[in-house]
């Protein structure tokens, strides 16, 4: 369901000075906000230059390190998306997105560094980004660690999918893939699982070593569309299928499609207040400093 919103919130024109960013209401505890940019829609050099001014010197350096114009542009858009989105959730004052500071947790997961940002009020915001060559996404929640991963639906796997899965996924997941009728169906499900597993590891924020892909199974939740659940397999069992510890405690998963071209997996930590409750995901497409478009609001049980 596509809803275009040309609401009073929008300022379509941008002036010579940096326009104030249109503020946003914080997500509620049960909501995830998912923002995405389609790089092909951002062509204006002056707009890209403006984005560049928002980045820290370190971020600009990292953008410059990318090999090739397209990769540079996407790296620039990714940092711009994070900075402008988070700045807009500052409900009290207009915050210059360039003044946000970021740090990494001890495992390397990026976080907002509220203490070092002058004029910021600390918000209990969590965010995570993911990008492919043709789509850049940022997920935002309040109070709940979040991980997201996006992949092009058409992404080709160079290796045989089942061989790949046997190497990296759990036995249950391999069996699931093996039930698919043809290679194309297997490839699609493999990609979906990859995004879900990546989203989980990123939500955990402890690096890949803490949760190798073959130590947990993700499967679709019967009776839901796009709902998934997590089962941790004990590493010690010889037969994971028999001794799977059903441990869904704490993590909610959803899988969506964005722009008809990408799978997007979102994983958030269930809080005690909302445990087991539905998860609402609000998806918006954006061009920072230019426009927003509400794409969908969906409830996942």
């Amino acid at each position: 369901m596509r809803i275009s919103v040309m609401s009073q919130m929008q300022q379509r024109s941008f002036s010579i000075d940096l326009p104030s960013l249109v503020p946003l209401q914080l997500p509620s505890r049960r909501e995830t906000h998912l923002w995405y940019i389609l790089p092909d829609e951002v062509k204006s050099t002056s707009l890209l230059n403006r984005y560049s001014q928002l980045l820290s010197p370190n971020e600009r350096d990292r953008v410059d390190q990318m090999r090739g114009d397209e990769l540079k542009k996407n790296a620039l858009l990714a940092r711009t998306l994070v900075r402008t989105t988070i700045a807009r959730y500052q409900t009290n004052n207009a915050v210059d997105p360039g003044s946000l500071m970021f740090k990494k947790n001890m495992y390397g997961k990026p976080e907002v560094d509220w203490q070092n940002c002058k004029d910021c009020n600390k918000q209990p915001l969590h965010f995570n980004i993911s990008h492919t060559g043709s789509l850049i996404a940022c997920g935002v929640t309040v109070h709940a660690p979040i991980g997201i991963d996006v992949e092009d639906k058409e992404r080709k796997i160079k290796h045989d999918v089942l061989t790949f899965a046997k190497r990296f996924y759990t036995a249950d997941e391999v069996n699931f893939l093996a039930t698919k009728p043809d290679q194309e169906a297997q490839r699609k499900e493999f990609i979906k699982l990859w995004t879900l597993k990546e989203a989980y590891v990123k939500a955990l924020g402890k690096g890949f070593s803490a949760s190798p892909f073959n130590t947990f199974t993700i499967q679709s939740t019967p009776g839901t569309e796009g709902g998934y659940s997590l089962c941790k397999t004990s590493e010690l069992t010889a037969n994971p299928m028999e001794e799977t510890e059903k441990y869904n405690g704490g993590w909610k998963f959803t899988l969506l499609e964005l722009a008809d071209s990408h799978y997007a997996a979102v994983c958030i930590e269930d809080d005690e207040v909302n445990e087991g409750g539905p998860m609402k995901v609000i998806v918006r497409r954006t061009i920072p400093l230019v426009e927003d478009q509400l794409i969908s609001e969906r409830i996942f049980l």
């Binding site: 390190q65 990318m66 090999r67 090739g68 990769l71 492919t132 060559g133 992949e151 992404r155 796997i157 160079k158 290796h159 790949f164 190497r167 990296f168 990859w194 990546e198 890949f208 070593s209 190798p212 892909f213 073959n214």
Partner: protein, 136 residues
Amino acid sequence: MASLSTNSLSFRAPSIQSSRFSQVLRKPSSFQAISFGSFQSLKSLRLQISCAAKPETVQKVSDIVKEQLALSADTALTAESKFSALGADSLDTVEIVMALEEKFNISVEETDAQNITTIQEAADLIEDLVQKKPAA
């Protein structure tokens, strides 16, 4: 045929660790100039020893990376080239590692696979694993 001695593996060069120590011991005069903490001075002795992997390994890794990431043949890659700077995401990295496993007939732990960030690191890991392979 091959089972009893580690020398039976067909390395193209002596294993790096043993050659480092044996070559150093044979040159006592230059030994004084070397501190074990700094290997830069070793290069001036023109020995085929260093902490880094062989150029051929680096080249093979570069070829596989180019193929996986669909880079043009004339893309200049160096040992320091970072996978992420070339546009590789984690799925690409894992596919690259699988291709390297096939090419070099080694087996990489998943956690090692996810931690590779440059061509140099991939090449070093490969050589480390090739060296550690048990006799066939």
